[in-house]
């Protein structure tokens, strides 16, 4: 089934009776060439690129819940490539380029909207840092424009420019940044993988990883044992639990990140805006809800819900930045489990077990990485070689101290990102 304007028109005129399910609901086979544990955005895109770019179609994605039910369906949907450090810089640049061709590639409307991401600065030092960051982004081949106060005011006149504590000095505009419809990204990749023969097996929890003489042989699941030549672990906040099945301890602590959405409003916020003096970022969904978030709650948690202090902080930061949103009613909030690494950067690597691969540590920034992560992880799983854009996402960088990617320069240890 292909989507096209003609098809939508025809279905509209004939009662929308011709649409079919986007993917099958297959029984697990006894053996696959490759198994992906985790049917989130990263796992689905990995399966998609394994099939599309490496011809590996005897692949299963095992999902404990349902497709799109995890963090890929619960995030603030921001897509950007504004990183500075080698390793992150080329990776997110690669991922953004994949985003730009994603809808045609998947034949699926993921509502990718390059509405521009505006990061605000509130001091001379921060402005200098943004000038440097902008130059790093341009040097990488991406876009950035440093705006002065009046430049920001022209774009977003509704901010509180005269705030005495946090006056707005300017901003860094990343015009190719924006948002996408998060569920559609999961569905588009799922459909694309399924069409190429990948089995998407939902309600199938992995309970063990079979390893013989240092070589992976398959997995145990709630739907029986499944053999596989290669196994990729892509389970975000649950990485430590699944890695433990293979006898590994990871440099990861799981934390909760909250996000919030208001009732639907008329179009009011055209860009993605991030406040520079409190962790707060906001955009408006196509349905009209203001979608915004802040920082981690800053203690390890698997609760999928946060506590009041951070919720209050986020609201306060929002009110400080744009008092006009004060009367909007918050419709709901939610908390996702983030796999935090000591340096705040991810891991895409092999493990000491032959055939077992690891993709984790996306911290609170995994959504924008979905295309790039799957693309690079598929390359690693299929060829055994690191993919150039993700070659620095090594698991052993913490042990060796080589090529740590501490983007925030706070130190490479837990609890600082």
């Amino acid at each position: 089934m292909r989507f096209s304007a003609l098809r939508v028109l025809r279905e509209g005129l004939t009662g929308n009776k011709g649409w079919t399910p986007h993917w099958r609901d297959p029984q697990p086979k006894a053996e696959y060439d490759a198994i992906i544990i985790g049917g989130g955005g990263h796992g689905l895109s990995t399966a998609y690129y394994l099939a599309k770019e490496h011809g590996l179609t005897n692949v299963a994605v095992l999902e404990k819940g349902y497709i799109g039910g995890g963090n890929v369906g619960r995030n603030t949907t921001i897509v950007r490539a504004n990183y500075g450090l080698p390793g992150n810089s080329e990776f997110y640049s690669h991922s953004l380029k994949l985003w730009e061709g994603l809808e045609e590639d998947l034949n699926y409307n993921v509502m990718h909207s390059q509405r521009g991401q505006l990061m605000l600065c509130h001091s001379d030092g921060q402005r200098d840092a943004f000038a440097r960051r902008g130059n790093q982004m341009i040097a990488q081949g991406d876009d950035a424009e440093l705006l002065d106060r009046e430049g920001v005011r022209r774009l977003v006149p509704y901010l509180d420019f005269d705030n005495t504590r946090f006056p707005i000095y300017g901003g860094l505009m990343h015009a190719r940044g924006g948002t996408a419809r998060h569920d559609a990204v999961a569905w588009g990749y799922a459909r694309g993988a399924d069409q190429r023969g990948v089995d998407l097996i939902q309600q199938c929890e992995v309970t063990g990883i079979d390893i013989e003489n240092g070589v992976v042989k398959g997995v145990q699941t709630t739907r029986g044992a499944i053999r596989a030549k290669k196994v990729g672990v892509v389970v975000a906040g649950r990485s430590s639990q699944v890695a433990a099945m293979a006898g590994m301890r990871l440099p990861i602590e799981s934390h909760v990140l909250q996000a919030f959405v208001t009732e639907g409003l008329k179009p009011v916020i055209d860009h993605v805006i991030s406040f520079g003096m409190g962790h707060f970022y906001i955009s408006q969904s196509d349905k009209g809800g203001l979608v915004f978030g802040g920082d981690l709650d800053f203690y390890s948690s698997y609760a999928s819900r946060g506590n009041l202090p951070m919720a209050e902080h986020v609201m306060e930061a929002g009110m400080t930045l744009m008092p006009m949103i004060g009367k909007a009613k918050v419709l709901r909030s939610w908390g996702g489990i983030m796999d935090m690494t000591p340096d705040g950067s991810p891991i895409i690597d092999k493990t000491e077990t032959e055939g077992l691969f690891l993709n984790c540590g996306w911290c609170y920034g995994g959504f924008k990485a979905v295309p790039g992560s799957g693309n690079s992880f598929a390359h690693l799983m299929a060829t055994g070689n690191h993919h150039a854009p993700a070659a620095k996402y090594r698991l052993d960088r913490f042990r060796t101290g080589v090529d740590l990617m501490d983007e925030e320069a706070t130190g490479s240890q837990h609890n600082l990102h």
Binding site: S240, R249, P251, E253, S301, A303, F398, R399, H414
Partner: protein, 90 residues
Amino acid sequence: MRIDCPLCGARDRREFYYQGAAVALNRPAPDAGVEAWDDYVHLRDNPAGETRDLWHHEAGCGAWLVVTRDTVSHAVSRVELATDVKGAMA
């Protein structure tokens, strides 16, 4: 979430700063080697369930606490002074 500080009584979570897993109490010897130090600084059990971590009563008495709590329910089951825990380990 409230934490029952042994010195100050039950206080709001906002008074406390989370310092990370209580593994920090088991600092290896300086010459213990790369593996031991990697394990100490970076690798974590990261349990979904009962965990022990260090909190600093930053806006209170300033004590370091070992808090036993559940990472799934956020229930706090035990709070001890880090000095007592460290003393018992010696």
